[in-house]
């Protein structure tokens, strides 16, 4: 039998827990509500100011900033919030509107906080500061940012490299001359994407990057060669076929498919037998587009290769060369047997399309 004393104690304890829980929920809701309201107030303040800046037309005057905004800027959270809103706006507008946003950013001295971020030991603050200065297009800080292009931290390095390209376009790629850390696949995609917005204007440097001791730089240079069809670099790319690095060799094969000459298919065929299976497949794929009638005997040989994928691409290459190539494929000794009967049907279908 439970003593009444314990029973009362249990009820008291239960009520205490329930009350604490209710108090916690109420306080939490109050704080959340307060925070939401503050956020809404900040959004209105920031939006009004940015809109005013975007459509500001007085050339020599400062953009009018209310006392309320000026005072709120003393609070770090608001300053960060406004900076983010300015960055978002700057990414969306161009021309005089973008210049006005930049003017407002400088007028509010927000660049000083970004500069302090550059000196901060924490990598994420550094990366954030670089991105901020880059989006705002503050070229005067280029030298400060440039030294981070070979920073030990991957994200700091990435932001700095993108910032430099953003500032100087293809000329900004000169960081490739000195970068010793790897340029990741993701970073290469980001850089190529950034470059898409800019006119290439026959940029220089690729030849040097093709000989870089940093293999990821060579890989990136090979992507530039094929992306911008730098035919004059054909021989340098052929030189990369001898590279011990598998990725360099693979990218060289793929690039040759874009900047080929009459000699390219012969050169690639010369590499085929001693090549790694991955490279063999790449060579056959490239031959689909660049092989000539002279390559028909080699391609016919590859129809007997043990790798079915190589068989398929060799068949495709034969069909793509000329009527003679297609005829040779159809006359293959096993043309009516599996898998050739299916491969030929597929290839003919593709030709019809």
């Amino acid at each position: 039998m439970i003593r009444p004393y314990y029973f009362i104690l249990a009820i008291f304890f239960f009520i205490l827990v329930a009350l604490s829980l209710i108090a916690f929920i109420l306080i939490y809701m109050y704080l959340r509500n307060k925070s939401t309201k503050k956020q809404q107030k900040w959004t209105v303040m920031a939006n009004l100011l940015i809109r005013k800046a975007i459509f500001f037309e007085e050339i020599e005057d400062d953009i009018p900033v209310t006392l309320r905004v000026q005072q709120s800027l003393k609070q770090t959270p608001f300053r960060k919030f406004l900076t983010n809103e300015l960055l978002k706006a700057k990414k969306n507008v161009s021309g005089s509107a973008a210049e006005n946003i930049k003017q407002l950013y400088l007028q509010l001295n927000l660049n000083q906080y970004a500069l302090a971020g550059l000196k901060n030991r924490r990598w994420y603050l550094k990366a954030q500061a670089i991105q901020e200065l880059s989006v705002m297009g503050l070229k005067e800080y280029l030298t400060k940012i440039y030294r981070f292009t070979n920073n030990a931290n991957e994200l700091v390095r990435m932001e700095a490299q993108i910032a430099i390209v953003n500032f100087y376009g293809f000329e900004g790629l000169r960081f490739l001359d000195v970068v010793s850390y790897p340029i990741t696949e993701w970073q290469q995609i980001k850089l190529l994407q950034e470059l898409l917005r800019i006119s290439p204007d026959n940029f220089k440097g690729i030849e040097k990057w093709l000989k870089s001791p940093n293999k990821t730089v060579v890989v990136f240079a090979l992507k530039l060669v094929r992306g911008y069809h730098r035919f004059e670099l054909h021989d340098s790319v052929v030189g990369c076929l001898a590279d011990a690095d598998k990725q360099v060799k693979l990218q060289a094969i793929i690039s040759l498919g874009e900047i080929y000459t009459a000699e390219t298919s012969r050169l690639l065929i010369g590499q085929f037998l001693s090549a790694h299976p991955k490279h063999q497949l790449a060579i056959i794929k490239v031959l689909q587009n660049i092989a000539t009638d002279d390559d028909i005997p080699f391609l016919l040989q590859q129809l007997d290769h043990e790798n079915v994928e190589i068989k398929l691409f060799a068949a495709r290459a034969l069909a793509n060369i000329s009527a003679k190539g297609l005829e040779s494929l159809m006359n293959h000794k096993q043309a009516l047997q599996y898998p050739f009967i299916e491969i030929i049907a597929q290839v003919k279908n593709e030709l019809a399309i």
Binding site: N47, F55, E85, K88, K90, N92, V93, G95, S96
Partner: protein, 124 residues
């Protein structure tokens, strides 16, 4: 002109609204693709300006729906941060009339919208 703007970024939406109103247009603002399609059905705007990446229905879906469901050809301007060739081509193939990439100049937008306004006045 009555212009419907579909844009999920609030600041961008307000900026566009402000600019277009200042240029003398009547502006209907919508925050996502679904709302845009509903408002198009209600208001029959003279021009639609839409982003591509939006919740519920994308800008490309808006073009398709408008081109399929409306006999009167409503001009559509795409205003997007996506500048990849395949996206731009797809937008035009679906029936977009103009494509402005972000970052964009509000002054340029005014001029481009004016072109459609002129065409609208001629056909009215």
């Amino acid at each position: 002109m009555r212009i419907l703007v579909a844009e999920d970024d609030d600041l961008m939406l307000k900026t566009l609204e402000f600019r277009l109103k200042r240029d003398g247009h009547e502006v209907i603002v919508t925050h996502d693709g679904k709302e845009a399609l509903e408002q198009i059905a209600i208001h029959s705007p003279d021009l639609v300006i839409t982003d591509i990446m939006m919740p519920y229905s994308s800008g490309l879906e808006i073009i398709s729906a408008v081109r399929q469901n409306y006999v009167n050809r409503i001009p559509i301007i795409i205003l997007s941060g996506m500048y990849q060739e395949d996206v731009v081509l797809e937008a035009f193939q679906l029936g977009a009339d103009d494509y402005i990439t972000k970052p964009f100049s509000p002054n340029e937008l005014t001029v481009r919208v004016r072109r459609f306004g002129f065409a609208h006045a001629v056909h009215a």
